[in-house]
Symmetry: C2
Subunit: 132 residues, 2 copies
């Protein structure tokens, strides 16, 4: 366990790698929840984006505790787990942020709007564990 992301694993968080995060959250009754999703990392914060009212949104607003596993798309035995606490939740610029994430993963703007209110979450990597 560490609180710094070793250089050896920074590629997993890079724009070019386009690796998905598997985001784990604990629901109100303690039930774990996990879904793959897009993320970005700006060197300080991990940035996530969801929509108001979703399970992820509610769980991050309630406890703020998050864990995510990022596996190398070319080698599933190589991964990093990052744990932390959400320090910023905002709807400001959140539509632009999902377009930004979409550029990373699809090369184009996000095409999934359906009247949803997008939300951006930022957390600082806290506990890091690596494998492979």
């Amino acid at each position: 366990m560490s609180t710094a992301i070793s250089e050896k694993y920074q590629d997993l968080l890079s724009w070019d790698k386009r690796a998905f995060a598997n985001l784990a959250l604990s629901l109100k009754d303690g039930t774990p929840h996990v879904t793959p999703l897009w993320f970005d990392y700006d060197g300080e914060y991990v940035i996530l984006n969801s929509a108001r009212g979703r399970v992820k949104d509610k769980a991050m607003r309630r406890s703020g505790l998050v864990a995510m596993a990022i596996s190398d798309p070319k080698n599933p035995y190589r991964y990093i787990q990052i744990r932390g606490r959400v320090v910023e939740i905002t709807e400001e610029g959140a539509r632009e942020m999902i377009d930004h994430l979409s550029m990373k993963y699809t090369g184009g703007p996000y095409d999934g709007y359906g009247g949803e209110i997008r939300v951006t979450y930022k957390f600082v990597p806290d506990l890091i564990s690596c494998m492979g």
Copy 2:
């Protein structure tokens, strides 16, 4: 949400697909935890294997609540999330079980024994959600 695994997604649980599960657990203080790992599904139970004393082992013994996301290795936008409660924890046959899982993923027996005591966990898929 459903409690049955739709035929459309059963391939993600198959022996041939060799998809990893991202297993999410809630730790004692509510912190989420997530790691990729091997699994098997016998049509009734999801079968996991870890070692005595590990974070995963402790969390599954404590609450028994698990969630796992399984993504299609060829299409990260296609995945299934399975939630449930561990109903069986046993050390009996657990070394054989990790060899069995290793056969699925590597084609050979497990080569990672280091004096560890292997443990097998079984849970029934309870809540299912699918995407893609």
